[in-house]
Symmetry: C3
């Protein structure tokens, strides 16, 4: 049992849930913990490059998923009170007014502080995401790798 | 502390969240772990028999809940992009195209590999579900049993 | 490692998720465990006084958030089948018919049994909640305090 390791499964791609995950990850990293965030399903969206990447060999279904889902943190919506899209910008404004870090700053800080971001390969296959569409510096792994890390951690959250 | 035990509270009945829970459970079972999934609230839906079961003594409210909620894994909707019901079939198609297991195969595999499914009795009482409406081979228990198992596990997730 | 400590991050303000959190917290407290619930984002709503509290110096945005979000447990909606607001009263009725405790009774019981409720100060700043708007007897802390407690607990859930 290693008390200095934390894992988070980031299943959600909601602005507010991603924010909570990154705040916890940054907090733990600041205290010297090893932190791994496994991005799966909608959580993969935060790892996508913001620009459109041409990928051959996608099915129509995969093109649809790829086209409809947000690319990167800037396009995420709120889980509650999204109000047809104006909720997230409102929350962003409120964060800024409160002197807090933006979602992009939280994400950058996590990466600078060696929080490990893992893209779930099974979810990528299902949603048709290719490595070319993802930002650099990621790990790619499946559930066995997650379980191996969770066994070494003392806090494991599903967000 | 037993490093070979995992528990999952499956609160959600969303197709994608159920899928994530079953993938983790199957992965852990494949690595030799004991896994228990406590199904509570909407998570109970995956344990319902697909056919309509006649149950006497239900209140109108319980009949409404029972009638409106999905019976079994085949009827679940997505937590995001459900698009009036077409999201889940799309996700199913994408899973199949990716060569992944279907939700039903994941569920069957979990049961074959001795993942223990527990139906939360308090939630059943509230929603008016009777044991006759549930599939065979389940355990029935409450929060004390969950906490007893969680105390013995090293990974405890709420999904 | 202290096997008698549990932490819950209550991120959600949905009636059903709050109920699940309080049932687990009450169960653990009844078994003699120390339990801490960190209320963050929408979970803060359960800690708000039901009456309108005059607070000076709020921005328009903060007034909007404050005005739109539920004050206390009585106003929460369901995460699923909310049906334009009638879902939660239906669930309340079903709980009562099943002889279960109401959400307010669960909350009162948790407080009587020394479950510690912590209001996340960062979320309060973002949403513009002041201490005057919150019920008495709360702790106020941030992510570092959460992590400190989670390190001492053997079950840590994100709800």
């Amino acid at each position: 049992m290693d008390t200095t390791k934390k894992t988070i499964i980031l299943f959600s791609g909601d602005f507010d849930r991603v924010m909570a995950a990154l705040i916890i990850a940054n907090g733990a990293a600041a205290m010297g913990d090893d932190v791994t965030i496994f991005c799966t399903f909608w959580g993969l969206n935060i790892l996508r490059k913001p620009e459109k990447v041409q990928s051959n060999g996608k099915s129509t279904l995969q093109k649809m998923f790829g086209g409809m889902m947000p690319k990167g943190t800037r396009k995420l919506g709120l889980s509650k009170m999204n109000m047809a899209g104006i909720g997230a910008p409102m929350m962003r404004k409120a964060c800024k007014a409160a002197g807090g870090m933006s979602l992009e700053e939280l994400f950058a800080s996590a990466r600078e502080n060696d929080v490990k971001f893992v893209a779930c390969t099974l979810s990528m296959d299902i949603l048709g995401f290719t490595k070319e569409e993802m930002i650099d510096g990621l790990d790619y792994a499946g559930v066995a790798a997650y379980l191996g890390e969770a066994d070494e951690a003392n806090v494991n959250l599903f967000i």
